[in-house]
């Protein structure tokens, strides 16, 4: 007798995500459905506006990876118009991306993902003196893990629990058997959870130095970057470097140490040793170093074959909407897609919580489309980024990955797990933080002889332009595609990391990374599905980003209408 479990809202993510699974009599998942329950229609809104405003509008797709769409949209327009931006602008954009990754990944691991690994209640029974000793096991210079500090953290949280008023910690899955840290380890991680709240603010300030503010920086324009005064100010540059040091310090002495600790504690926990069931990975090259080289490589890996990495061919990307709330006849390439909403609603059925409206798995059930590469689902994200660079023999990445495997005693196969996905995000953060200084130094050298930050773009209204940009965002490969006609946006499309990962099943019955990652997972208690949340969080969902994909080729806006019952 199979049972349906509904999880909505998935909290501690960006946006609105609903996951449903079906478990058998042993509580093992045999089917899963991933659904985004919000559509905003930003792509529709872009049509007819000036390409110069693209960046600022698409930035509002997401306030978490706030800078990614801003840069990608701006660069798609530059690509269409054939603009080569000055070297300083490239460096500044790269430094802003470095700042973003350092911020985003710390917030993700501690504040969004952390409570899936850390049992707050268990930390209350820890011995702070013992915990301080244990912290030394994972790094010789722990941060925020001295005995006194750990005792203070414990007392703070005790206060919460004793009053029975847990506020944001209320009604969670504390005590679940798949929490594997000892009370002392939980206390260390909890202390870092609080410390990370402080550190991430410093990382956000790094982005604001060249960006004006964070979230939603405002210093990129088609043709370059506007923060020339900040770039030319030695005090400003020093400020960035100082903040970079503070954040890097935390990444090395807390984030890295906590992942090593998690690898040890969770190394035999079955619920985190699966979760990578789509064995196809894609990433693009990003982070400009000196001499025009990139920190990470681009490529596609199919069927987990690290020996057979190939170049990305953008023509092989298509999107399927057979199970998404849109109408289209066949999979479409980003330049030629359509987006005609067709909402069909829920189906009432029995669940572990009684009768509820549930997803119609046989019909349409999500606002996310299903992108495919050569007809196959693909996972994108920090894990894909590292695997592609590893497969390419990228020395920085190979060394970092091998060092972590040696440190934890795990085999290379361990990368292909939920735990591996979480560890890859940390490694990517370490690499980006450390190598970011090379970009910084390259900028310092270049401004000695060159102060250019901008080239003026020109649009000929009588011409038609087509262009796209690809970049590595914190959640994986991002691409924006634009067509310009009569000097305004004719159509626009963003193919977003979370879309690749979270899309529904396609017309051929192939399921995407989110849904595949849950198949075969055993739940301790189907009414408290912590294991599902942990796996889904390991992808770092960003739902507002994922819901769009469009293009209005040959479609007048007057034809744009929504039918409530799909007729």
């Amino acid at each position: 007798m199979s049972k349906r479990v509904v999880i909505d809202p998935i909290t501690r993510i960006e946006g609105h995500l609903r996951i449903e699974v079906e478990v058998d009599e042993n509580n093992v998942i045999n089917k899963a459905w991933s659904s985004s329950t919000l559509w905003r229609g930003i792509e529709v809104i872009l049509k007819g506006r000036t390409p110069m405003d693209v960046g600022l509008i698409v930035q509002r797709i997401c306030g978490v990876c706030t800078y990614s769409h801003y840069r990608c949209g701006t660069e798609a327009v530059e690509n269409a118009l054939g603009i080569q931006i000055p070297l300083n602008a490239k460096y500044l954009r790269s430094l802003m991306l470095t700042s973003l990754f350092m911020h985003d990944h710390i917030v993700h691991f501690y504040h969004l993902h952390g409570l899936d690994w850390v049992d707050v209640v268990s930390a209350l029974s820890a011995d702070p003196a013992k915990a301080a000793q244990i912290a030394l096991k994972y790094t010789d210079k722990p941060i925020a893990a001295g005995e006194g500090e750990l005792r203070a953290v414990q007392e703070r949280v005790k206060g919460f629990v004793e009053t029975g008023k847990l506020g944001p910690f209320a009604n969670a899955y504390w005590g679940n058997g798949t929490y594997k840290f000892t009370p002392e380890q939980n206390l260390i991680a909890l202390s870092h959870y609080l410390k990370a709240l402080e550190v991430q603010r410093v990382a956000a300030e790094m982005l604001a130095i060249f960006g004006g503010k964070s979230p939603h920086p405002q210093s990129l324009v088609v043709g370059g970057v506007t923060s020339v005064r900040d770039m030319l100010s030695p005090a400003r540059l020093q400020e960035w470097k100082q903040k970079h040091e503070i954040v890097t310090d935390f990444i090395l002495r807390a984030y890295q140490a906590d992942i090593v600790m998690a690898a040890e504690a969770f190394g035999t926990e079955p619920s985190v040793l699966g979760g990578v069931n789509v064995k196809n990975f894609m990433a693009t090259n990003d982070f400009v170093l000196a001499n025009g080289e990139y920190l990470f490589d681009q490529g596609v890996i199919m069927n987990g074959d690290l020996a057979g990495v190939s170049d990305i061919n953008p023509d092989l990307i298509a999107e399927d909407v057979s199970h998404a709330w849109y109408n289209a006849d066949a999979p479409q390439h980003p330049y030629d897609g359509t987006t005609i909403p067709n909402y069909t609603g829920f189906v009432e059925r029995d669940t572990v919580y009684g009768k509820l409206p549930t997803l119609d798995g046989d019909g349409k059930y999500s606002w996310v489309k299903s992108p495919r590469y050569q007809g196959e689902p693909v996972e994108v994200g920090p894990l894909s980024c590292l695997l592609v660079s590893y497969a390419r023999g990228n020395k920085v990445v190979v060394d970092a990955v091998n060092a972590l495997l040696a440190r934890t005693g795990l085999p290379v196969e361990a990368l292909f797990t939920t735990l591996g996905r979480t560890a890859a995000r940390m490694l990517q953060t370490v690499i980006v933080a450390q190598e970011g200084l090379k970009t910084f130094d390259a900028l310092l050298t270049n401004i000695q002889s060159d102060e250019t930050t901008y080239v003026k773009p020109h649009i000929d209204p009588s011409k038609e332009y087509v262009g796209h940009a690809m970049m590595e965002a914190p959640r994986g490969m991002l691409s924006h595609w634009i067509r310009i006609k009569n000097g305004v946006i004719e159509n626009y499309q963003a193919v977003v990391p979370t879309t690749w990962n979270a899309g529904p099943v396609d017309a051929n019955g192939k399921i995407g990374p989110y849904e595949a990652s849950l198949i075969g997972l055993k739940l301790e208690d189907p009414t408290k599905p912590l294991e599902v949340i942990r796996i889904i969080h390991s992808f770092d969902p960003c739902m507002a980003c994922s819901v769009h994909v469009m293009d209005f080729k040959g479609q007048a806006l007057s034809e744009f209408r929504v039918s409530p019952n799909g007729q």
Partner: protein, 378 residues
């Protein structure tokens, strides 16, 4: 001054009433501050600063301090609608442990999807429990616009599949006050830009209660925390402008307090990004700055621990705290010139116009608008 005396009495009575409720935090605020190395003196300084920010006379700073200490008697429910989470992020990225963030931490946060540990069924239980237990007492903050087309089906939240529209209406019923955090919740924001395919609206358009609008994409943490403090202190809304924004924060034009205002008056303009003027910090009006039409305190408060704000980073203001700015203020890198804004005539400001010569300036735009500001809500 009688009105101030009456307001002071009102605040005192309100705080006495709050004190009757059980505290929802284990630690008092002062203990918490001590733990972070913040002295009582610093706290009193902060209270005086907030008093000034809220445009109240100095004696009120005692009330501000008291209200901060009683913040844990006020349950806060935070809903996410059609949004990008940027407003939550703005709050989370506030100053390193400073009073604003600690006080936010002190408020009793009952529901916030980005930060809460619970998920799914259990998260929804928390919301229902809070709406019931604190009926008539809780503060409701909303982030994001409300999609209304198609009966609101462009957004559903929770296992029961309720639409965002249903959830907001239901939550508004028992709220003591409603705050729209950010331009999306206040005015519809980016999803409401033409042609607004989802029928996105601001919260005040779908509920039948007064709503405080905090414009901004995102608003600064100062404006969010200041608004919370005012409510805790007086249990009512502050003086609002014609768009229901608190006058203390949105009472002045960005242009009037801009660090580059002197350049404008002297007729020194950036003609092209990255030119000599850009390196010297000239006025950004000609490359699209919308500061003259925008009401907010960005120039004085800045963002991210006072690190920067768009004009400092060499890009003009885009008008993000104004209604319909995505349509009214575009193109963002071209000067607006003379046109209707919010249905008001944009009249030229003689100071700059003379020097600008050929460039027509539409400045002083809706300076007239502030004349229509509403009196204090009773």
């Amino acid at each position: 001054m009688d009105t101030h005396a009456a307001l002071y009495e009102q605040g005192k009575a309100r705080l006495d009433a709050l004190r009757q409720f059980a505290p929802r935090q284990q630690q008092t605020l002062l203990e918490k501050l001590q733990q972070h190395g913040i002295s009582r003196r610093d706290f009193m300084k902060w209270s005086a600063m907030v008093t000034g920010m809220l445009a109240l006379p100095l004696p009120f700073s005692n009330l501000v301090a008291e209200a901060a200490e009683l913040a844990d008697r006020v349950p806060l429910i935070w809903l996410h609608m059609a949004e990008c989470t940027g407003c939550s992020e703005s709050l989370v990225r506030a100053d390193t442990p400073n009073l604003d963030s600690l006080i936010f931490d002190h408020i009793s946060l009952e529901y916030h999807e980005t930060l809460m540990a619970a998920a799914g069924w259990q998260a929804e239980e928390n919301l229902e429990h809070a709406l019931e237990t604190y009926k008539g007492r809780y503060l409701l903050a909303v982030e994001g616009a409300i999609p209304t087309a198609n009966n609101g089906s462009f957004l559903t939240v929770g296992c029961k599949g309720h639409t965002g529209l249903e959830i907001v209406k239901h939550a508004a019923e028992g709220a003591a006050a409603i705050i729209s955090v950010g331009t999306c919740a206040a005015f519809g924001g980016v999803q409401a830009a033409y042609p607004n395919p989802t029928g996105a609206k601001g919260v005040h358009e779908v509920v039948s209660k007064p709503v405080i609008n905090l414009g901004g994409c995102p608003p600064s943490e100062k404006n969010i925390v200041g608004t919370l403090m005012y409510f805790i202190m007086f249990g009512k809304l502050p003086a609002l402008d014609m768009f229901n924004r608190p006058k203390w924060a949105y009472g002045a034009r960005v242009h009037d307090n801009c660090e580059r205002r002197g350049r404008f008056d002297a007729g020194e303009f950036v003609e092209e990004f990255g030119d000599h003027g850009a390196k010297e910090g000239y006025c950004l009006y000609k490359v699209g700055c919308k500061g003259p039409y925008t009401y907010n305190n960005c120039p004085t408060e800045r963002f991210n621990h006072h690190t920067s704000w768009p004009v400092l980073a060499g890009h003009g203001c885009m008008g993000c705290s104004e209604p319909n700015f995505w349509d009214d203020m575009a193109d963002f890198e071209k000067p607006l010139g003379r046109q209707l804004l919010h249905g008001l005539d944009a009249t030229a400001d003689t100071v700059g116009a003379v020097i600008l010569g050929a460039t027509v300036v539409g400045i002083g735009a809706h300076a007239v608008a502030s004349i229509f500001a509403k009196p204090l809500e009773e």
